[in-house]
């Protein structure tokens, strides 16, 4: 069973984006999605207060007043707009952001998402994740299909504290693409060299046709 690597998952996630979309990308594999948007006119939001996020600066051109939501130094574009964090989450909560592409620890077959806290480990906080999943039009999760122990991260119900309930629309894993539908998850696409049976075998959540 082959499947997609991180970059192939990011490239597949980029196919979800359409010309003209305002999009928020999470930390990790979702950040790589920006490398694969090609000619599409996509505006990236950084929830600390920016639309039109540019690439990392060249060495020596870092500006401490210009960072992304991961606190990394970035650059602006000729379309960039800055605003305060209340307005930034106003546009998130107000459904103005077309899509968020996020990592996850667990997704349940009803669309519940857990990606902010592991009990008994150090608690860092949810940041803007709860606002994003509650507010944006479409939530796309990009994550490995199984955890390090080989257990499914697509579950009948989440075991970790939730970030949001019934919020996930689509899941892109190293094995393929699944949608959250009535009654469970539906396989939309399989990764290179992966069969639907492979996905079923690696998935705890109910797979519906």
């Amino acid at each position: 069973m082959a499947g997609w690597d991180r970059n192939q998952m990011a490239a597949r996630a980029a196919e979800e984006l359409e010309d003209g979309m305002y999009v928020n990308l999470g930390i990790g594999i979702p950040t790589l999605v920006a490398n694969y948007v090609g000619d599409k006119d996509i505006t990236l939001q950084s929830e600390n207060g920016m639309l039109g996020m540019g690439p990392f600066p060249f060495e020596g051109e870092e500006d401490p007043d210009l960072i992304n939501a991961g606190k990394q130094t970035i650059t602006e574009l000729n379309r960039t707009a800055y605003f305060d964090s209340a307005l930034s989450f106003g546009m998130i909560r107000g459904g103005k952001i077309a899509a968020a592409i996020l990592g996850a620890m667990e997704v349940a077959e009803n669309g519940d998402l857990a990606n902010w806290m592991i009990p008994k480990k150090l608690v860092k906080g949810m940041g803007g994740a709860m606002d994003l999943v509650a507010g944006v039009k479409r939530v796309i999760v990009v994550m490995d299909h199984t955890n390090k122990a080989g257990e499914s991260k697509l579950l009948k119900s989440c075991t970790l504290p939730l970030t949001g309930t019934g919020v996930v629309d689509r899941i892109i894993t190293n094995l393929g693409v699944l949608d959250v539908v009535e009654g469970g998850l539906r396989i939309v696409e399989t990764a290179d060299g992966v069969t639907e049976d492979d996905i079923r075998a690696a998935t705890e959540a109910t797979i519906v046709n």
Partner: protein
């Protein structure tokens, strides 16, 4: 109406009290009121509750007020970059109230607009909703969140005029306007105070009505995650 003070110490004189609620601007170490934080450290005021998205890093920003144990409670969305924070939190010395980032920003904005509560979908069905009133609007659940009315706001802006009109720079704006708005008294530190008339009235980010005291000073502006690309990639 004299709003301009010579130093951060002078700008906070007579305001600080043990047990007060302070709203602080900044995101990570970007746009934080570093001079006012230093002055609060010097004052020795204690048992503070601080509403701020983050709590600085070890030894810088609000992290300095943790080192001196002047903070007893934080209202934040993300506190992952601070070992002393974790130590005090896990030992029970420090109380922590997690707020989703947008909820925290809106709670500040609401307080500054005289709104004691608002309903939001953020956090419905999660631990954040525990103990909060749930209301249905058009068939969907929302939870009640309270506006924050702080005793004091401390913020950082780029430029001010002497009437307190503020202009911020790039993403250093972040929580500063909502934090400024929700305080009974707001003290702003800026990189430059310009003469009246020099700021374009159409380009003021926060009108001076929300700002009571101003101090100009030098800022370290530490970078938390320096990330660059190589020139060859251009």
């Amino acid at each position: 109406m004299k709003k301009v003070y010579d130093s951060a110490d002078a700008a906070l004189d007579g305001i600080l009290k043990d047990g007060m609620l302070i709203a602080a601007g900044g995101f990570g170490l970007c746009g934080i009121p570093e001079l006012l934080i230093d002055a609060i450290v010097k004052s020795g005021v204690k048992n503070l509750t601080v509403a701020s998205n983050n709590c600085g890093v070890d030894g810088f920003g609000l992290g300095k007020l943790l080192d001196t144990k002047q903070i007893s409670k934080m209202m934040s969305s993300y506190v992952g970059e601070n070992a002393e924070f974790m130590r005090q939190y896990l030992s029970g010395e420090l109380e922590l109230e997690f707020n989703p980032q947008g909820t925290l920003a809106e709670r500040m904005r609401a307080g500054g607009c005289g709104i004691p509560g608002f309903y939001t979908k953020t956090g419905v069905g999660t631990v954040i909703a525990e103990g909060k009133e749930v209301m249905q609007f058009d068939g969907e659940d929302y939870i009640l969140e309270r506006g924050i009315f702080a005793d004091l706001s401390i913020v950082k802006a780029w430029k001010a005029d002497d009437t307190g009109n503020l202009v911020f720079r790039k993403t250093a704006r972040n929580f500063n306007p909502p934090a400024a708005m929700c305080g009974k008294i707001c003290v702003a530190e800026v990189e430059e105070i310009v003469p009246r008339g020099e700021l374009d009235p159409d380009m003021i980010h926060l009108p001076g009505i929300y700002v009571h005291r101003i101090v100009q000073g030098e800022h370290e502006k530490r970078i938390e995650q320096r990330t660059v690309r190589k020139r060859e990639e251009a």
